[in-house]
């Protein structure tokens, strides 16, 4: 028997879960066997924490490389969580940089250049984003394959399940709560009989899937691809229902969070990003702790967003362009965003899992849509990783990777999540090896 199946069995027994994805690393065999036993039942999660409009590279990059690093001026709010972080600087998106705020995310997440010349809510990438490739591989065990959430109101995020399959996002805390913890949520150890209507709903979905297949036989290749996506989604929901009918995994830290308020009022006519971000963080963290999903893409703010942050004299995007000099106002906004990121990381760190924490079992990637917001450059792409102890992330360090292709980072993450992939990206975005130094 291959060594990696040992972990699979371990998880299968302890977690009460269906067969897990094959995990190609040998951590369980090599280091700290004790911890592997104690924590082996906890799944590995991955999530993106995204904000729009880039940074100010000169004030972003920490001065010192390696373990002796200190947070840069823009990262000061992260000082208290420094030990959980791996700051990666110097990589660049190699695909065509034609479209402000769009080319960066397209290159980084899909490994390919953006299709079309504009990046709006109507645009699409040419390929699936890597978070969705991870979701496809590891999401089959959970009720939701992946979660796409937001703080700033918007309809679509960055994640793509495939070309032209840009995924909608949920910016409403109450609606997210209802989806995750409302009807259909079963607390750990809940042994009550599932609702008899669930199996009826499955028979309806079965008929709908059949209709999708029949229709697909009449249409062209492109439409067949679209119907296949619908068919797959219908089948996934059937599986969701099947999961509801079985007993939920017994995860000690899982509980139903407090119901968020119906709406979060503006403060002085400005969106209360802080409160909303805190609530969304708690919901996402609990979704992970309850193993409702293992992959998320959380969009704090959108590319080109013009959010009016506290004390700013203009919207965020406008300031990145109009403000001269060292852009003190943009700096203040970025530090505000980092404070909210720190809150998110701390929320994960407070949830125990075995003798570690949820953060240890979650690899979080913070990034944005370009490097310098003012010029839309995609060199020196800003990225910070947090958590990821069980993924082997090298932590409390500043990894300087000058001139490296940002796609290497994407490939690294997929491999750290256990995917057997040897390459990522197309054309100038294509790489065949991970980024050296990201893992221990």
């Amino acid at each position: 028997m291959k060594p990696l199946s040992r972990r699979t069995i371990l998880r299968g027994t302890v977690g009460g879960l269906a067969a897990a994805v094959a995990l190609p690393w040998l951590e369980a065999m090599t280091n700290t066997t004790r911890r592997a036993r104690a924590n082996g039942s906890f799944p590995k999660r991955f999530g993106v924490w995204f904000f729009g409009n880039g940074v100010i590279p000169e004030q972003w990059t920490p001065a010192v490389e390696g373990a002796m690093w200190q947070p840069s001026p823009l990262m000061m709010p992260l000082s208290t969580i420094k030990q959980h972080l791996c700051v990666v600087t110097g990589t660049r998106v190699n695909t065509l940089n034609t479209t402000p705020h769009g080319s960066g995310p397209a290159g980084l997440f899909s490994g390919d250049s953006l299709s079309g010349s504009e990046f709006t809510q109507g645009s699409s990438f040419r390929a699936a984003t890597f978070d969705q490739r991870i979701a496809e591989a590891v999401g089959g065990d959970t009720r939701f394959r992946s979660l796409e959430t937001a703080v700033q109101p918007a309809q679509y995020g960055i994640s793509h399940a495939g070309p032209n399959m840009r995924l909608p996002i949920e910016p409403d805390p109450r609606r997210l709560f209802n989806r995750l913890f409302g009807e259909g949520f079963r607390a750990p150890g809940d042994m009550t009989m599932p609702d008899p209507r669930l199996s009826l709903r499955r028979s309806v979905l079965d008929a709908v899937a059949g209709q999708s297949r029949t229709l697909a036989a009449r249409v062209g290749v492109e439409d067949r691809r679209r119907l296949d996506a619908h068919f797959t989604a219908v089948r996934a929901i059937e599986q969701q229902i099947a999961r509801l009918e079985s007993n939920p995994p017994n995860l000690a830290s899982c509980r139903r969070p407090d119901m968020p308020p119906e709406s979060i009022p503006d403060v002085m006519g400005r969106p209360d990003m802080r409160t909303k971000s805190r609530i969304m963080s708690e919901l996402l963290a609990m979704a992970m702790a309850c193993d409702t999903s293992r992959v998320f893409f959380h969009m704090y703010s959108q590319p080109v967003n013009n959010t009016l942050f506290p004390a700013a004299t203009s919207g965020h995007h406008q300031l990145t362009h109009d403000e001269g000099g060292a852009q003190p106002q943009v700096g203040t906004i970025l530090r505000y965003i980092m404070e909210d990121f720190a809150t998110f990381v701390n929320t994960l760190a407070r949830i125990p899992e075995g003798d570690e924490t949820l953060l240890d079992h979650t690899l979080v990637m913070l990034t944005t849509d370009c490097s310098f917001g003012r010029t839309h450059s995609v060199d020196e792409y800003p990225m910070i990783f947090a958590g990821g102890r069980s993924h082997g992330l090298r932590r409390n360090t500043h990894l300087r990777a000058r001139g490296e292709n940002a796609s290497k980072v994407s490939l690294s993450i997929m491999q750290m999540m256990g995917l057997r992939v040897a390459e990522f990206g197309m054309g100038a975005g294509r790489v065949t090896e991970p980024l050296a130094g990201l893992t221990t």
């Binding site: 209709q211 362009h321 003012r374």
Partner: protein
């Protein structure tokens, strides 16, 4: 061009796309019917047929509005249609094109599922509705014949075609099993109705046709759907479906049905769908303003502003049957109390609620005219604390004149000076756009229009001063000068690009070509690559919109200069290719 004409021309497009090479408009029978009496001689020539990629038949996913309209048309107006549905996608500003591209995500599938059960409960648990829609009395908990009658009737209306016997058998069986499990005929029927509502046969419009020689012929039910969704933004009614069933959708009968659809009050929905896409009105849901600068801003601002545009255009087109170009110059508008206070005009009715709109006429002394004088445009194309002549100019170029404006080149330093004694107004501060060659190429086309709206602040309120200095609202559109927004409106009205733009957009909505073909319909303005990426800018690796001061601080701190230079040249090449 009056709007009736515009609409009919577009109907021609709907019918015309039955040919892989659309016939010229004037050759079409319906088109010549459209020559209504007092149409001013306006050039509404459509692009040559070759500019259209033959309408490629694609499944079209229902937009949110089409979903809602389908439920309300097939059942009744009082149903509460869930609003959490897969969002519309608007590539090239068109939900019509978006519908041909997008699929249904897992989240969307969940939402359609929730909506289906929600609606089925509303329809089958309310005794009045149940009596209205289920016309047979079930013989017991399970009555396949009664269930079949209901599912056949509503399946046909919702799927816009007859339900096949095999499809019906599956849904009858589902309803029967559910009825037995839940011991209730109508509860069981909810599962059958939910199947209809979750089906791709409902969520996607199948208008594909078959190719015969050089033509693509739409099947009769497909043609019925194409007509009703284009004109009503909703499903065919029974009369149209019956005509399709009897194979009558051709010749005079077809023309009669088109006339009937155009006379219906539902035409307003088709018009609204067009205007919403055209003027990007859905984005009004996402704007925000600094409350200290704009105390008048509140959550109902966006919806109020949108309603004003929709009502005013509907008034001109459907009530007055006027010249469509009047939408730019009309002094009539529809406002509620909120908008009246923003515009500084008295509101006729005392004690009116936010949904009460009244028709008002702006005095000729006011510069506020037409849709470009309305809060929707003025607030949409502004920042949270200030106006944006650039965004406003871009909106006019792209939406009113159908010209494409390229994004700014990568690597440009876009900083503009803060207000200072030498440059108090935004016009003065934006002088850099005109002085620096790399900016001037595009900005002279944008700012010269956008600065004409400076008398309106970021919420659409009138003002004479900016930072204490008097605003100069003059400018020019290409070679036509204007003195203020009022004369700009007149200039735009007479611009031959405007009617062509509207008709092309309408036609595009009907035909829903692929996004690439849609882009081909937009005129690309000639911009010299040299103006976009000046040689010195390319050599330095950056180009700047700040006045050349020679100070190091003005240059961006970016480390990737070489690459930025490359991006610039690419940008220039992309421009060159478009010529």
């Amino acid at each position: 061009m009056n709007l009736r004409t515009g609409f009919l021309l577009s109907v021609v497009a709907t019918l015309g796309v039955a040919c892989t090479q659309p016939a010229p408009v004037q050759d079409s029978g319906v088109g010549s019917d459209a020559s209504v009496d007092d149409v001013p001689p306006v050039d509404v020539r459509l692009p040559p047929a070759a500019a259209y990629v033959p309408n490629h038949p694609r499944l079209r996913r229902l937009t949110r509005a089409q979903y809602t309209n389908s439920i309300r048309d097939v059942f009744d107006e009082t149903l509460i249609v869930p609003r959490s549905l897969e969002p519309d996608k608007r590539p090239e500003g068109s939900s019509s094109i978006g519908g041909t591209e997008t699929t249904i995500s897992q989240r969307g599938t969940e939402q359609y599922q929730d909506a289906a059960y929600d609606l089925a409960e509303q329809i089958l648990r309310n005794p009045m509705r149940r009596a209205m829609y289920v016309r047979c009395t079930p013989a017991g908990v399970r009555d396949d014949a009664c269930a079949g009658t209901f599912l056949r009737t509503y399946g046909r209306r919702l799927w816009r075609r007859p339900v096949t016997e095999a499809e019906l058998a599956t849904m009858v069986a589902i309803s029967g099993r559910a009825a037995e499990a839940l011991m209730d005929f109508h509860r069981g029927l909810e599962f059958g109705l939910s199947t209809i509502l979750q089906s791709p046969n409902f969520l996607f419009r199948e208008e594909i046709g078959t190719i015969r020689g050089a033509e693509r012929r739409y099947e009769r039910y497909e043609l019925a759907s194409r007509l009703s969704f284009f004109l009503w933004n909703g499903p065919p009614d029974d009369a149209l479906l019956d005509a399709a069933e009897m194979n009558q959708l051709q010749g005079d009968t077809l023309a009669g049905h088109v006339d009937r659809l155009i006379q219906s009050p539902k035409l307003r929905r088709g018009l609204d769908a067009f205007v919403t896409d055209w003027l990007r009105l859905e984005e009004l849901d996402f704007i925000s303003r600094d409350a200290t600068l704009f105390p008048a801003f509140s959550a109902d601002f966006g919806p109020s502003a949108r309603e004003e545009v929709l009502r005013t255009i509907a008034w001109i087109v459907l009530e007055r049957d006027g010249d469509f170009r009047d939408v730019l110059t009309t002094r009539e508008s529809f406002v509620n109390r909120k908008l009246a206070s923003i515009y500084g005009i008295p509101f006729p009715t005392r004690g009116a609620g936010p949904t009460q709109f009244e028709r008002v006429t702006f005095s000729p002394a006011q510069p506020r005219r037409g849709i470009l004088g309305m809060a929707a445009f003025l607030a949409l194309e502004a920042h949270p604390t200030s106006t944006s002549p650039t965004l406003r100019g871009k909106y006019v170029r792209e939406l009113i004149l159908c010209e494409a404006v390229p994004p700014p080149p990568i690597g440009v330093n876009t900083a503009i000076p803060e207000p200072n004694p030498n440059a108090r107004t935004l016009r003065e501060r934006l002088e850099v756009h005109q002085e620096v060659t790399s900016c001037r190429g595009c900005h002279r086309f944008l700012d010269n229009i956008g600065l004409g709206f400076e008398n309106f602040d970021a919420l659409g309120r009138f003002r004479r001063e900016d930072n204490g200095a008097t605003i100069d609202p003059s400018g020019s559109i290409d070679s036509t000068p204007f003195a203020d927004p009022s004369s700009m409106a007149t200039a735009l009205r007479e611009n031959p690009s405007f009617p062509r733009c509207v008709v092309n957009r309408q036609r595009r909505r009907a035909a829903a070509p692929g996004a690439r073909a849609a882009r081909a319909l937009v005129r690309r303005r000639r911009l010299s690559p040299a103006r976009i990426a000046p040689r010195d800018g390319a050599r330095r690796g950056v180009s700047t919109c700040e006045r050349p001061r020679g100070s190091a601080a003005a240059a961006p701190a970016d480390t990737g200069r070489r690459r930025d230079g490359r991006g610039q040249r690419r940008h220039a090449r992309r421009h060159a290719r478009r010529h």
